[in-house]
């Protein structure tokens, strides 16, 4: 009798344990430092809000490192559930049918309410297929902004207002140099700023087939007369000492934050770095444009990363993923992420909520990124881009740009070469993917 009741107790205990057994959802990401803390806070909040699922975030190194690790893990059969992949890896992930499950499918299968229209079109457009199905979940998106140092401007006798056109920009640059400014202008992420966003901002294509969204047989078009003219301008600025090249990633941020450079084009996320220097008097502005181009300015495109769902997992786990994504889409959650990191809110509701809270009044300019992304309804040229192996593609573009900035090549030769080499990379991807 005692044995029986003991057995019943044990069984009941086990059953209760199983019933409350949390399904673990492993999330590999590449956000270190302060951003990583914010990300961990998000996961903890989700875990605290319900008992069935537990999201476990794991920092896996930089974006390329975590992607390599995920690929190896997938081949070994132990991939994570959610993987944060940078935007240039979108085409690679998209082509890996079987390795990934589109977000639309995950949400649909789990019968989780999901309204694709609630998301900002420029943000979601980057990660949806041509039929409008969302493939990955936009998580941390930013865009390129134009920052100026007010003290430097005042010292040069200029009003602390950002030039709106590239013509005005050149005039301001000359005045700044004449006033003794050592570094007048620098940039971060040269390809993302001066080729990709430049094209979208002026409503010209980066590549055929809607910048690659329409098919793998796309080709680059970044050697058009307008592109050549713009890169030639950059080369001239470099030669005159008005443009100081800082490197391929966000090295320009530090140069502006320290006060060394008077103007910079950098990610919206750089605001966090600039705010750390209390002596810096700066403002965030729209990108300059060429005012003789019809249709400019149009809208800028995003950068950053999205969350992909890996294949081969159990339905119960996918249900947890769908609940987590629904949680991430809540306006309050989005607002906190946006306010804390500087990344743009991904839903209109979150944007409205942030505005209503008065955040933008207390922090003027914090809504500029969203404004620039939604300046006009996106066209096929400005929804985003999707090029295979674009990690290599972007490197090719940056190499050719560096040759122009160093005065070794003229813009036309460099951009023609970038198109030629870039297309080779695209064809290789097409051959491997389209089968």
């Amino acid at each position: 009798m005692r044995v029986q009741s003991l057995a019943v107790l044990v069984c009941a205990g086990l059953f209760a344990a199983i019933a409350h057994a949390q399904t673990e959802i492993v999330w590999w990401h590449s956000m270190g430092g302060a951003l990583g803390e914010q990300l961990n806070a998000l996961a903890s909040k989700f875990n605290d809000s319900q008992k069935d699922y537990k999201v476990v975030p794991v920092f896996k190194g930089t974006y390329p490192e975590s992607m390599t690790a995920a690929i190896a893990a997938f081949r070994a059969g132990n991939a994570p559930h959610i993987l944060q992949v940078f935007e240039v890896g979108t085409a690679t992930m998209m082509a890996a049918k079987g390795a990934i499950v589109p977000v639309a499918k995950v949400m649909g299968d789990a019968k989780e309410p999901f309204d694709a229209k609630a998301y900002l079109p420029t943000v979601s457009g980057y990660y949806t297929d041509t039929k409008g199905n969302m493939l990955s979940f936009p998580f941390n998106s930013s865009t390129v902004m134009f920052y100026i140092n007010h003290d430097a401007f005042k010292k040069a006798g200029l009003a602390p207002q950002a030039p709106k056109t590239w013509k005005d920009f050149q005039a301001a640059a000359e005045k700044l140099k004449a006033a003794g400014q050592q570094c007048v202008y620098t940039t971060s992420w040269p390809s993302w700023t001066h080729i990709e966003n430049f094209s979208a901002w002026h409503n010209v294509p980066i590549g055929t087939k809607q910048n690659g969204m329409g098919g793998f047989d796309t080709e680059f078009t970044i050697n058009s007369p307008l592109h050549v003219r713009h890169v030639t301008m950059l080369g001239e600025l470099a030669k005159k000492g008005l443009f100081t090249y800082a490197g391929r990633t966000n090295q320009g941020d530090g140069k502006f934050a320290s006060g060394e450079c008077a103007m910079v084009t950098a990610s919206a996320g750089a605001q966090a770095t600039f705010r750390k220097n209390p002596k810096l008097d700066w403002s965030i502005n729209f990108l300059p444009y060429h005012d003789d181009v019809k249709g400019a300015p149009q809208n800028s495109i995003i950068g950053g990363a999205s969350l992909w769902v890996m294949g081969g997992k159990k339905p119960q786990e996918y249900k947890g993923v769908s609940k987590f994504f629904a949680f991430l889409s809540l306006p309050e959650v989005q607002k906190e992420w946006h306010v804390g990191t500087g990344y743009v809110p991904i839903t209109l509701a979150a944007y409205e909520l942030t505005r209503e809270s008065g955040f933008y009044e207390k922090n003027p300019g914090a809504d500029m990124p969203v404004k620039q992304l939604t300046y006009k309804p996106p066209t096929p040229n400005s929804k985003g881009l999707r090029f295979g192996n674009f990690v290599q593609g972007r490197e090719v573009i940056e190499e050719e740009l560096e040759a122009v900035f160093a005065g070794r090549k003229d813009a036309k030769a460099a951009l023609d070469e970038a198109v030629k080499r870039g297309n080779e990379i695209l064809r290789k991807f097409e051959a491997a993917a389209a089968r």
């Binding site: 270190g32 390599t68 690790a69 190896a72 081949r75 070994a76 090295q251 530090g254 140069k255 770095t273």
Partner: protein, 282 residues
């Protein structure tokens, strides 16, 4: 020196002192930088005399890493490097010395085949097969583990060759005497060969400890958990941006700490190290 030429002697000393100065220059700058604050470094030119933030900087990195880049505590990283270096050095010595003993002191079928198999690994430095080796480690669930850090680097031919060369110089009479005494091969190995090999083992230990401590590409791929970073990788992961964005005092403090243990090993075991390196690599 054949004739007495004081001028040439002075020149020799001058050249040597210049050489020592140039060699030591980066170390000195690094040390000074690790005692300053970031503002002092960012004001060009940075001072060339040590500052007063030595304790602060070292305490910061040992406990909490940097603040802008990796936040892994350097103390943990030093521990990981220590485990890796010791693991590789001792592991390599252990499996190579017995393998070498087998090759030299036994006759058995496939002996030459196994010897060439080991020899061929000289042609395969890890950088050349890095992606497939990473895949194998991933398949065996060895990522982010001490085993994963050390095991794949343990089998290499250099140690085996070194022992082989040394064993070949051991007089045959010793082995014969052991046979006559009725001692088995393992007794011979333990009582005769091992004590004789002490110098070679010491030299190899220094070389392999340095090799293991300074590994870069393999730990870079195999570890992504901050708790498993080695000291050398940790330095790299602290460099997150451009000149002004890096926390140079902390990076330099970490570099000093990362250089310390191998330097101590080299300088303390200098005699064996030099002897072993020169006599055995040839």
């Amino acid at each position: 020196m054949v004739e007495n030429r004081p001028g040439l002697t002075i020149l020799s000393h001058a050249v040597l002192l210049l050489g020592v100065a140039v060699i030591a220059f980066p170390l000195y700058v690094t040390f000074v930088a690790s005692t300053l604050t970031l503002e002092q470094i960012l004001t060009v030119p940075m001072p060339l005399v040590p500052g007063d933030h030595l304790v602060d900087n070292y305490r910061q990195v040992l406990t909490a890493g940097s603040t802008r880049g990796s936040q892994a505590a350097v103390a943990t990283m030093l521990g990981n490097s220590l485990v890796m270096a010791f693991g590789i050095a001792l592991g390599k010595i252990a499996i190579s010395i017995i393998a070498s003993f087998a090759i030299v002191y036994f006759r058995f079928p496939l002996r030459n085949f196994f010897f060439w198999m080991i020899f061929v690994t000289l042609m395969l430095p890890v950088e050349v097969r890095i992606i497939p080796t990473f895949q194998v480690a991933s398949d065996l669930h060895l990522l982010n583990s001490y085993v994963g850090l050390t095991l794949p680097l343990i089998a290499s031919a250099t140690a085996t060759f070194l022992f082989r060369q040394f064993f070949l110089t051991v007089p045959d009479e010793l082995a014969e005497a052991a046979r006559i005494d009725g001692a088995g091969p393992m007794r011979f190995f333990r009582d005769v060969l091992l004590p004789l090999s002490k110098t070679s083992i010491a030299a190899l230990f220094v070389i392999q400890f340095i090799y293991g401590w300074n590994q870069y590409l393999w730990p870079l791929l195999v570890t992504s958990d901050e708790s498993m970073y080695t000291a050398v990788i940790g330095i790299k992961r602290m460099i997150v941006g451009s000149d002004a964005a890096n926390e140079w005092p902390l990076i330099m403090a970490t570099a000093m700490l990362a250089m310390l243990p191998p330097a101590v090993v080299v300088l303390a075991m200098q005699k064996w190290f030099v002897k072993g390196l020169v006599e055995t690599e040839k």
